[in-house]
């Protein structure tokens, strides 16, 4: 297959971020930077102040008196459907009668400036009839059976029987918190009306097609008239997969009603209050095992907090459940998933999409078993790894092929010197104890397997559009969005490779639904896999036509003609790519093509919870070394070593960046990022002063990263590469395990079981002191 080409022109090279130069000189345009026409108006949101209840009146007289120039827009002004649900129905853009969380949009104020709009919002009074018993946490939702959809239940073998018969068993529960995306660019949309009910919507979104649909539904205007665009996002991480749609639709509604451009940029507080986050989960388990730690039976229940609407919570739960196995073969396995409905902000996609929660669940359980048995966690893992001996079938039925666990463990031993360092850590802790000093270290390894493809089969498709112009320049467009992950340069490399032209012949253009329609979100790590393949196909169609023509010009068979570094070579004759393009035009040969790709081999039966949802798996491993202060509960990560399988990387520089950033984002989730709610359901952490994401000193000063070498993807992916967006985030679980390791060596009485995520200082202290009150 041509895709295996070894003498690459562009692919596999470390090209820089596509707009690096412009981003570094302030010339890269984000949506907030788009020059506005004189008549542009600005919006600010009216948000609910109570978690649950009925709106009895929206009093705007005072606001209108305060600023007569404003316009107030609420649900009753919507010409179409008050619904932007990505999968299911009933997800309003504005609460109409009922409010279901603090921070829910109720209306929009439009004014001549953002300041005026925001000032007027403060003058609006909403009168509610409060619901006295809002459901604010998972436990209560579970008790009241307040669920979205039917709970998922699936099993393989006979878990409960095996647990009963096993020599040992443990039962328990633990919880993990959510996470705010904290993209540096808050949600923003700019809606511009044109003639004939056409609209241009600029939205910082990972999913322009969904924005197009949302706007179309809300305005009751056909999708063909809505042009949804984005050149780049200032960070997304899943937070702009479905969540951007509501803001885009609100801005569009303002533009529709006032027939003027309307811009809606959220300030950080409104962004954090109103937009969805990572799902917090609760885990209940019982596990049976033998004295070597071989798991005989496992029964796990996951509760996820979906928040007020279902949004993407169903596929998030599916991914959590299909990552409970991580790298381990469980023959007798039962799992349940409850998607709980609460009166808090709707949780949504976040890098890993439930995978991290599933994997943290199993890793925590195994860690607990290893401490119970007083055996090394890595030895216990060995008893359970997927292998021909232990089995290679996942509990949901997919066969795990091309297992790279051994390879990674071996490489990691040389890379990180794990065994020796375990001893050093113990020695350090003994000396701290002897000297009555407060520091304890911990160290932990973890392997990770992550499934690549959207869990919903229909989403695994992509389109691209490539034009070659008569001057030899090439315009590339595809459905993927650029949010810093380097997708645009990777796909451009693919096109440059296809024509064998220098990368700067390829012009990268912004995502828009006019050029490539009906796209999927740039999510599930699949961006370069599917858009790269679609672009390759489009370029290949054109290349074939050009080759055929070149064969006529040179009067040589196509097989003797080579595209090489911007030239077309045939024996001792040659012409430039530009000359060939021009000659094609002169001879009336089309130089434009679309490309379409759908991921092969995947299947999924959600009802039975069975199938092969993942085209392939990526593999990764990490070792983290942590230190804690048992007097204050403070912790640090001292060193991290990561090996990640990127297949044959399309761009090692970009992939390494993804690994570094993803891992640190995971560290934030598991340590310092705590979403804190008041007892009456208000999120109190609404900005960087109270919500702490990792800073420059919270990351490991020693950070070693290596891409697994000589591991082309066995599946026919684009140049045998592998997805890399999400998998490294899961490796941060190694740090959580290292913290538990440190706590377990803190003192005779410490109790690492008590550590829930995020491991804030107070939670670490509680575990160190075996304090059950936390």
């Amino acid at each position: 297959m041509a895709l295996d080409n070894k003498n690459n022109m562009s692919v596999g090279k470390s090209h820089y971020q596509d707009s690096s130069f412009r981003q570094l000189t302030g010339r890269a345009e984000y949506i907030d930077d788009i020059p506005l026409s004189e008549n542009t108006l600005h919006g600010a949101l009216i948000l609910s102040e109570i978690p649950s209840g009925m709106i009895t009146s929206i009093e705007t007289e005072k606001a209108k008196k305060f600023d007569p120039s404003i316009t107030v827009i609420t649900a009753k002004d919507i010409p179409g459907r008050n619904d932007i649900a990505p999968i299911f129905a009933d997800e309003p853009i504005f609460a109409e009668k009922e409010v279901t969380y603090v921070g829910q949009p109720i209306g929009l104020i439009v004014a001549s400036s953002m300041e005026r709009a925001r000032a007027a919002v403060n003058e609006v009074k909403i009168v509610y009839k409060k619901d006295k018993t809002p459901i604010l946490d998972l436990d209560l939702a579970f008790k009241k059976k307040n669920f979205f959809l039917k709970p998922i239940h699936f099993e393989r073998g006979k878990a409960n029987e095996q647990i009963r018969q096993a020599p040992h068993k443990l039962e328990g529960s633990f919880s993990m918190g959510g996470q705010d995306h904290f993209y540096l660019e808050t949600h923003i949309a700019l809606a511009i009306p044109h003639e004939n009910s056409e609209f241009t919507i600029w939205s910082s979104t990972q999913h322009p097609t969904e924005v197009q649909h949302g706007v179309s539904n809300v305005l009751n205007i056909p999708a063909a008239k809505i042009s949804s665009k984005v050149r780049r996002l200032g960070g997304g991480f899943g937070g702009k997969e479905s969540q951007s749609t509501i803001y885009a639709a609100i801005a569009a509604l303002g533009a529709y009603i006032l027939d003027k451009p309307v811009k809606l940029r959220l300030n950080r507080k409104d962004d954090m209050a109103s937009s969805g986050k990572r799902h917090d989960f609760e885990v209940k388990y019982s596990v049976g095992f033998n004295k070597k730690g071989k798991i005989k039976g496992l029964d796990i229940t996951l509760l996820s907090n979906a928040g007020n609407v279902c949004d993407l919570s169903a596929p998030v739960m599916s991914r959590a459940l299909t990552h409970l196995d991580n790298c381990y073969s469980f023959k007798d396995f039962t799992a349940r998933g409850y998607i709980c409905k609460t009166n808090t902000v709707s949780n949504t996609a976040f890098r890993g999409f439930g995978g991290p929660q599933g994997m943290l669940a199993i890793e925590t359980i195994l860690e607990r078993v290893s401490r119970f048995l007083e055996i090394d966690l890595d030895e216990l893992r060995h008893e359970n790894y997927y292998s021909l001996k232990n089995g290679i079938k996942t509990p949901y039925g997919q066969i795990v092929k091309n297992i790279k666990i051994e390879k990674m463990i071996n490489e990691m031993e040389t890379f990180a010197g794990l065994e020796k360092r375990k001893l050093l850590v113990e020695k350090f802790n003994r000396s701290q104890i002897n000297k009555n000093q407060p520091y304890r270290k911990g160290i932990a390894f973890m392997p990770a397997k992550f499934g690549i493809s959207f869990n919903k089969v229909s989403l695994n498709q992509a389109g691209a559009l490539v034009h070659v112009y008569t001057d030899g320049s090439v315009r590339l467009n595809h459905g993927g969005t650029e949010m810093g992950q380097g997708l645009f340069i990777k796909v451009a490399q693919v096109v440059s490779e296809c024509f064998n032209i220098p990368i700067d012949y390829v012009h990268i253009s912004g995502t828009n639904t006019d050029e490539v329609p009906n796209t999927s979100a740039t999510a599930a790590s699949s961006g370069s896999d599917i858009n790269g393949m679609a672009a390759w196909k489009a370029a290949t169609v054109i290349k074939r036509r050009m080759l055929k023509h070149a064969s006529k010009v040179f009067q040589k068979p196509p097989s003797s003609i080579e595209f090489k570094n911007g030239l077309i070579l045939s024996g001792n004759k040659s012409m430039t790519f530009k000359e060939l393009a021009f000659s094609c035009w002169e001879n009336r040969i089309s130089l434009s093509s679309t490309g379409f790709y759908k991921t092969p081999k995947i299947s999924w039966d959600q009802e039975k919870f069975k199938g092969s949802p993942y085209f392939y798996f990526t593999w990764g491993a990490a070792v983290s070394e942590a230190i804690i202060d048992i007097d204050t509960g403070e912790s640090r990560i001292l060193r991290a070593d990561i090996i990640q399988d990127c297949g044959s990387s399309l761009n090692p520089l970009i992939d390494r960046g993804q690994i570094e950033g993803g891992f640190i984002q995971g560290i934030g989730w598991l340590t310092c990022e705590e979403l804190y709610y008041s007892p009456d359901g208000k999120l109190l952490t609404l900005g960087p002063s109270t919500y702490k994401i990792p800073g420059s000193r919270d990351v490991p000063p020693e950070f070693n990263i290596k891409l697994l070498e000589n591991t082309p993807n066995e599946e026919k992916t684009i140049f045998r590469s592998k997805a890399v967006g999400e998998p490294p985030l899961l490796l941060s679980i190694s740090h959580f395990l290292a913290l538990k390791n440190a706590i377990s060596m803190a003192s005779e009485t410490s109790n690492a079981d008590l550590l829930n995520a995020p491991a804030t200082p107070s939670k670490i202290l509680a575990a160190v002191h075996n304090d059950h009150s936390m």
């Binding site: 971020q17 000189t25 970009i654 420059s696």
Partner: protein, 155 residues
Amino acid sequence: MGEISLKLNGKLETKDVADNTLLIDFIREHVGLTGTHVGCDTSQCGACVIHLDGVSVKACTMLAKQAEGSEIVTIEGLADGDELHPMQQAFHENHGLQCGFCTPGMVMSAVEMVTKNKNISEDEIRKGLEGNICRCTGYHNIVQSVKAGAAKMGG
């Protein structure tokens, strides 16, 4: 309303603006230089860092009036035409950016840090970047970039 004059990237800018206009809005909206970003509006993220008389300042928490008569340099004023400033070049080569939203502030902070301390250590860089947050990179490449930039700037 009142007239405010200041030098922005070497050019005198005089605008008639409301008294409570923030410096960031003066730069972005009234002059139209949008390279400086707003990430939090509350003086914590550092996306809006500019140089005011050579000192790095968060432009989201300062009134334009307070900058009257001063000399301001923003990210747009750092490069010499198409010739990148050594610190920009270092960020470029070390992949010190992903989404690029924090980048202008990062670069401005880095330039000031290194100008003040030519032989800056890795530890000092990490400390110096505490007022700038980045959600994408995990800081690793940013720290490498600043190190490389410091070397290029003649440290």
